[in-house]
Amino acid sequence: MALAQTPPTPTQSGVITIGEALHSSLDTFINADECTGAGVVRLGWLTNGPPETSGVTYQLFAANKDPNAGNGGACPSAPDPSTNLHAGTVAARINPTGANPMPDSEYATSAIAAVAGFDPATGDSTTTTATIFLCVEGVDPNFVGSVFRARTNALTLDRRKPTSVEGGSATTGDGAVHVSWTERPDTDNPPAEYYVIDATVADTTVAFDPITVHTSDPVTTSGFRFGGLVNGVVYGVRVWTFSPADNRSDPTFVGTAQALPSSDFWESYKTAGGREQGGCASGPAGLVAIAGAAAVLALAALRRRR
């Protein structure tokens, strides 16, 4: 059975905040996708100055060490081999309109990693993870002094793939397949943060599904009812593990299953000739009556206490 080779797309935004709280969440990772090819990271920041300051521009720096450590809080703009500091300017004269907050913009990961002393394709020579600091300075119109300075906390450049899940199964459901799997313990690789499942059409003998590959939202459990499928179609199911940095594992094929209509207990009962009609001669009236009785007794008890 042929399965599509397109992996599901990481769903996290990759936005990395600098400075004041511009975004509700902080992404502390630069992942493998952001490191390869034309990979980018998105950055935005908010200064503590006025909303717009005419002529103020920003400069973005990267370093492999905390800018606040031994540099007087200033963004390090040049390397210092004596301290093994890799640092440099990623972009200059950002913000021609003086916007504050500075809206998200994309910056090439290769430039960031290069000035921080890392080859984004391979990491450093011994590991696939590294720590990078990004720093922003606001510069006045005359390039005389800094009017704003902010930095990120440590960002982890992490290209490691998490370990694929093992085992697993796929079983039928009504317009769905049920998928389960087992996380494979592996202390050498990053832990599983979430999973994404895809279901690829494998056999349309009974019914036709116009969507060849269905991809789930992120799942944090080890089992999932994958709905929205077409009854009669056989699907092949794969599970992808994602790390905290949003790096993907290799997929694990957990099996095939046919989406089939299912008969719940009531339907089975009626199909067998059951005489119960359901509905309300009954329904919620009994609940309401009892709730009312409970309320009366509770009120009586309260009155007694007073």
Binding site: Y269, A272, G274, G278, G286, I290
Partner: protein, 234 residues
């Protein structure tokens, strides 16, 4: 002489009984077993739809109740209500979309939920426990029952809902826990107004079939339902 000794012993026990806060009624919590006899209407050797979906085992029934004492002079007669929850979850059946025949169990779950609502009349012979601290109080209860139920499918949607009426009788024995720590019992009465605490065990025989209606399924327990719990008299 023997009568005098017994009288003196009873008097001593009676004097040990503490002064209590006024009594209003009782509150109880219990857990027991239960299995509706839905398959009773499907006579034959094949497993009925209930057994196919949920198997042959018995499930848990949780109940909570409150009652108002009508009198407490020679034992306690109480009228009250109970409610609770019972859930059975099993596998739905997969159906071939062309032939409409069952091909086996589905990965989808199906669930039967039951919320019993019960009006009760209980007589508890707690005279000896109240007066002489003899820590056992047998009791009997007659009840009108209304089992509110609904069935959900694999997506969690309600497939069908309804209610079935009936009645039940219960017999039980309550063990007065106060005798094990009278000081704590007295403190509890002072702090919260709980006069007595009992541990109880009971057996219930229920008939829940809309009083024999030909259009109703049978939610009676084919066997006795056994339960245990705590009773607070306040």
């Amino acid at each position: 002489m023997k009568r005098i000794v017994v009288a003196a012993l009873l008097a001593a026990l009676a004097s040990a009984a503490r002064a209590e806060s006024p009594r209003w009624g009782s509150f109880d919590l219990s857990v027991g077993n239960y299995k509706p006899d839905i398959d009773a209407e499907f006579a034959g050797t094949m497993a009925g739809p209930f057994e196919q979906a949920f198997g042959t085992g018995r499930g848990w029934m949780f109940r909570v109740g409150a009652a108002k004492a009508l009198f407490t002079n020679a034992g306690s007669l109480e009228v009250g209500f109970q409610t609770g929850y019972h859930k059975r979850t099993g596998k739905a059946l997969a159906v071939d979309p062309i032939t409409q025949t069952v091909v086996g169990p589905s990965g989808d779950e199906t669930t039967l939920h039951i919320i019993p609502t019960t009006l009760t009349l209980t007589y508890r012979f707690d005279f000896l426990a109240d007066r002489y601290r003899i820590p056992l109080a047998p009791y009997g209860r007659a009840a009108l029952e209304r089992y509110n139920w609904w069935v959900t499918d694999g997506k969690g949607s309600t497939s069908r809902a309804g209610a079935t009426n009936g009645w039940s009788v219960t017999g039980g024995l309550a063990l007065l826990l106060d005798v094990f720590d009278p000081d704590l019992a007295r403190e509890m009465d002072n702090d919260s107004g709980v006069n007595h605490t009992y541990l109880f065990f009971e057996a219930r025989k229920s008939t829940i079939d809309d009083f024999g209606s030909s259009k109703s399924w049978d939610l009676s327990d084919k066997n006795l339902s056994y339960a245990g719990g705590l009773l607070f008299v306040f």
